[in-house]
Symmetry: C2
Subunit: 671 residues, 2 copies
Amino acid sequence: MDIQALAKAHPDHWSKACAIRTLAMDAIHAANSGHSGMPMGMADVATVLFEKHLKFDASAPDWPDRDRFILSAGHGSMLLYALLHLTGYEDMTLDQVKNFRQMGAITAGHPEYGHAKGIETTTGPLGQGIANAVGFAMAEEIQRAQYGKKIVDHYTYVIAGDGCLMEGVSQEAIGLAGKHELSKLIVFWDNNGITIDGKVEIADKTDQLKRFEASGWSVYECDGHDPEDIDRVIVAAKGSKTPTLIACKTHIGLGSSAQDTPKAHGALTDAQLIADTKAAYGWLHAPFEIPAGVKAAWEAIGSRGAEERAAWEARLAALSGTKQAEFARIYAGDAPKKLSATIKALKKQISDEAPKVATRKSSEMVLEVINPIMSETVGGSADLTGSNNTKTGDLGVFDPENRAGRYVYYGIREHGMAAAMNGLALHGGVRPYGGTFLCFTDYARGSIRLSALMGIPVTYVMTHDSIGLGEDGPTHQPVEHVAMLRATPNMMVFRPADTIETAEAWEIALTAKTTPSVLALSRQGLPTVRLEHKVKNLTAQGAYVLAEAEGKRQAILLATGSEVEIAMKARDLLQAEGIGTRVVSMPCWELFAQQDASYRKRVLPAGPVRVGIEAGVRFGWDQWLLGERGREAKAGFVGMEGFGASAPANELYTHFGITAEAVAEKVKALL
Amino acid sequence: MDIQALAKAHPDHWSKACAIRTLAMDAIHAANSGHSGMPMGMADVATVLFEKHLKFDASAPDWPDRDRFILSAGHGSMLLYALLHLTGYEDMTLDQVKNFRQMGAITAGHPEYGHAKGIETTTGPLGQGIANAVGFAMAEEIQRAQYGKKIVDHYTYVIAGDGCLMEGVSQEAIGLAGKHELSKLIVFWDNNGITIDGKVEIADKTDQLKRFEASGWSVYECDGHDPEDIDRVIVAAKGSKTPTLIACKTHIGLGSSAQDTPKAHGALTDAQLIADTKAAYGWLHAPFEIPAGVKAAWEAIGSRGAEERAAWEARLAALSGTKQAEFARIYAGDAPKKLSATIKALKKQISDEAPKVATRKSSEMVLEVINPIMSETVGGSADLTGSNNTKTGDLGVFDPENRAGRYVYYGIREHGMAAAMNGLALHGGVRPYGGTFLCFTDYARGSIRLSALMGIPVTYVMTHDSIGLGEDGPTHQPVEHVAMLRATPNMMVFRPADTIETAEAWEIALTAKTTPSVLALSRQGLPTVRLEHKVKNLTAQGAYVLAEAEGKRQAILLATGSEVEIAMKARDLLQAEGIGTRVVSMPCWELFAQQDASYRKRVLPAGPVRVGIEAGVRFGWDQWLLGERGREAKAGFVGMEGFGASAPANELYTHFGITAEAVAEKVKALL
């Protein structure tokens, strides 16, 4: 690579790009860890993008109509931090850059959403960013259909590496974007030919251009170090009628002695190597020093969008008051005022009618009243629409012919769906929900965890939540999944017992701002167990006394979801024998754990025998059965000890001993 | 579709294929559930494959050199059960077919490995079969290199549906197979254009042929109902030097009124529809009745390979005695006799030297002595070889130029790696292990669960197992993952404290026959905590007393992995204050739970305060802290309450309060 020739050909560009490169080198040197090669390799592409194309205003990072820039190759975080610092994002001070990867800094090892302005999504786990981007681009299309091109008209740009493209989730994203002709999605592929283990070719020889073309993308190639060539392809991509891949031929660790080697992927911390590289760049400045002229040029880029933003604000102000208020509301993530009354009315009706329905159907009943009053909901399913009951009548289907559609056929792509939902939520103005079978949270775990880590209100509608699924057998029957989701921090896992609890769970999910929700819903019909209408959202307490003991309280049955019915029947059996039995419904452990100790103690007083009932593993249950002032010798559990089986659901419940009789026996044995 | 023309053109073929179709219809009718459309649509392809190409002998289902037939589209299980019944697999009786999806039958809703002979792998979760198949084909290549073409020379055939191809894991499989030029892998794509939600095009418009070609596959198309055309492409595929995709244009639910509609995907149970379809087929037989001539024709197919098998057995018998014994041993899944002594010698050496090393490095030390004595190990990593320490000196790299290589660069494909490892293990004769960061078990969950459900001894080498990973931050720091894996049935989760426990864990993993293992290993250096050599494998007990209390036993510290060192330091602090403290190392909960109650009681006696220490969530710990005769009021936990952060590891431990001082304080507060 003839560095000198690059520097000479485009000196202004070169100095700006080298400011990124040297900040990355200096920060990684200071941290003694990080990933140098990618920022050094992709600095030219990023410089051209920010200088000539990206619509943004560093002084207003939350401007809804900004272009989104997503660093899918999150290990190259210093590229992003350097860009944010150079263009003048207020919080991204030089001190923050100097404290890269240190305790309390906003410059974490990988970009963490919420740490610094300008980080659109948390990346690092590979492939997530490109798959989030599909959601961003869908959100843009949907809102453009709702608010018009004057209010919503922006691009989503992604930098992805070889790792992103090898991860399977990228294929799901590519397929989805291609189908939906998301023309404002533009992906730069950092085609440097190097991974951690060596050259890409030791593990892959895929023709990526052909692969993307196969799914309906436009593809371009450029020299990733030639600013004119980079500009040329971005111009072309912006005019494309399909999503675009730009393969940028780059040199990882450009200009260093480690260039084009796996060593460059990681941290280049050798002082001499850094000095030699800077010398090759012609960069004669102290560590972390950016010459005033270069900084000024970057800051001019950072404020380039201010005028455009002002014009946009004027256009927004010209909308009707109602439209403006709605726009503000959905971007604030606030639920409509009507929501509470709507849920209450449904609860009242259900208490009166006491239907026996599967909670997946209950969820549909809730969505039927919610979707019409919440323009921000975007639903979908990974090819199980009729089973997840996620599609309501008023939602049009999102596709190239109907951008106003709010229902997405995600295809058989659980991971891609979850990642896209993260993108929809992160874009702002959208509240996504999507369904599959609970068992297939396995496929989507990579993105579900990121919903929790980022603290974004995505709702996962996970039906067929136990052996109650029946004949499809153990591959489709979750037994450990509720436990796994509960083990995940910052996640609300709801397992409602009936339509009323389902409505309450939805209300909580739809008003959450910093927590994703999982609704674990039954395939099989369940009776309404809460027959007396309560205005208060009892599910918000996490657990509550559903049925009090008659006579002396000798036992407490703790159950969730479809097993609450069994607990109620067991209570009947026990009460008939004079054993006073309380039933506690526990639709959401996380919320119960957040209640004050006195409430928890009222619900779970010390003394009585406790038996937990759930058609899943016991793992995690002991905190309620043995803890919370329980007594170990007097606690039991009725549930699953291993995987399920293929048979009709009722036979499975009997086979695995999850019956009212078994619960009653367990209580009596403990007494 | 002109059914009559098909029947007339190839009457013998037609009757055989219709035997499959009608058995599927009858079984699904009897079960009142299942998936009719796929068996009806793919019966012709399967018939030609079994009749003319598949090397198998129904009387010897475990013949090592048989061709493998994998039904990746597992919902079409009746296709497989019909084939097994018709060709004469002894266990697949007509009664089993009649009991499709019923309790105790071997004919589960989806094919379950181990239920019936001829089921090569458990499928149903989409995309798994095609990704397993990559492992099968790799195993074949490796063993052919080891034993020669006379002993190992077979194909791996797969039937995959649109769902399999939309799942991201399929892309990882396609890329891996293409790179490795797995020419004996042949995939039939059931190109029927229909998914559950509607036409494929509502969610995808990918040109699949182009997509596969982009990764180096050969591609063919055929009319999936024309036996001559099907035969033509199979012949071509068998001669290919790359893996092959055959796109079979088929009609889902062929000949029924639901043909070519999503309705056909599910269970066609309407009696009239079934009668009409059979009439259209010209099939005038009672339910479950197969005319003797048709059955005889199928049984002839089932015994077609007997002669070839006999010839193979003669060739095997002509090998040297050593070779034969080795072949028998690896197919029996037995560890070599030397293994035990080798591990003991390493343990002795380590006890003497007491090195301070990361357990990922410990794992490498074990592999260095194991791989040379176990020809069946096949290692690999998802592009983190140098971090997972999975590659030892003697393992060559598997690729098209070196089929004897036993190390696989899986690329950035955790899910594809796990699925391929399942395939390697299922093929027989191979014991696979592979690495990534523990956090990225998230990406591989779909396949990890199937290792456990199938009960196959895959070993997951999961390094960087806590916040001890340091600066890479919360996206890379597992906090809930150990809990999630422990919640999974039939999985051994090891978190060894030092090199000795790591060696013991490996010994258990390498002798396991029906259980996968996860080794959660540290990034950071850990001291040797077991300084006195014990011949016995203490890890096999799951938990054991590492250090006894001096004086009156007032506290028990329970810890795993990197936190055992902290427990030992806390013990020093407490003993210095005269508080007798026992340390229990718990490298494997599952094995501890399997010990008899008296042993468990000796390790965890009632009375003393208990504090658990693990740099992960408390979820699941209460079974040991509060249960097992513990006392709730006297138990505590030192660990993580939420996600981690980006900073140097030692600072993170201090920040999150996982220190010896914090443990000692907790004990004193409880006393």
